[in-house]
Assembly symmetry: C2
Homo-oligomer: 153 residues x 2
Amino acid sequence: MKTSFSYKEIKEKGYKITRQREIVFDILRKANMHLSADEIYIKAKSRNPGIGLTTIYRTLEMLYNLGYVNKYDFGEGRARYELNDTMVETCKHHHHLVCLRCNRVIDYTDFVPQETELITKAISGISRKYGFKVQTHIIQFYGICKECQKRKK
Amino acid sequence: MKTSFSYKEIKEKGYKITRQREIVFDILRKANMHLSADEIYIKAKSRNPGIGLTTIYRTLEMLYNLGYVNKYDFGEGRARYELNDTMVETCKHHHHLVCLRCNRVIDYTDFVPQETELITKAISGISRKYGFKVQTHIIQFYGICKECQKRKK
DNA sequence: CTTTATGCAAAACGTTTGCATCGAG
DNA sequence: CTCGATGCAAACGTTTTGCATAAAG
């Protein structure tokens, strides 16, 4: 299991390792939540006040292209990023419960063993029928969280 | 199976039925694809040139709150909407294969019978453990489509 | 009549781009 | 040295908001 970025792989693809990129890498590695570009920017500025938001976006794009981060949309009008579970051992594979009322996101990890099997089966079916090569998948459940149900209208 | 909007339900929630809303309803009902707000706007203008884009957004928001439409993000920087499969019989429940290179979206309907069972099981588990009331779910597979694999770099 | 919906213009927002400069390799 | 990376400001495209007017119920 990979626990850190492959600097070698990054360099091979023609990317350079910079102080700014290392900071973004590190923030993602230590985050145990899905961060928005802006949240990463705030955190990064405390370590390097001169860093630009543009650099955050470009670094995230690079990592996304390398397949190191997942990009999510939870309906807030901005993207959230998270290191791929192949990158950090502490980040277990999981899915999300998104509350439609308060936008809270709950990580869901209670997989029935069936799930992996089913997904694997689906991926090979997709490959066979559509010639589509699957890299990642997301499963999201939308609904109303416990708290919002209480203070219901 | 519901095949049209419940005007009664809409009125009960305090919404009014207007010419503009009926047009948007109808466009969604006839669409066999995920439409963006702008695409709906173009279509709507041919029937009512005076209609405003704002109205499209507000109608979509209403339908989303009513749970009549699903809202998707395929990474294009804008949302796409589609009537919920409970609303239109021609719109079968499906998931999406999103090509990371060309952004094409393929509808995926080949469910193994296991899937429904698994999702049902997951939903009741989620309800039990988190008290979260699931309304919809999305499953999306990201990868490279057949065509993009051919013209590979 | 009362209340919600509309259309317009302007604002807001996240994200991207052009460009001169900087720094990694 | 060279080429990619950076930071800034400006541009972009989508979505939202304020407000006066229009229309639904």
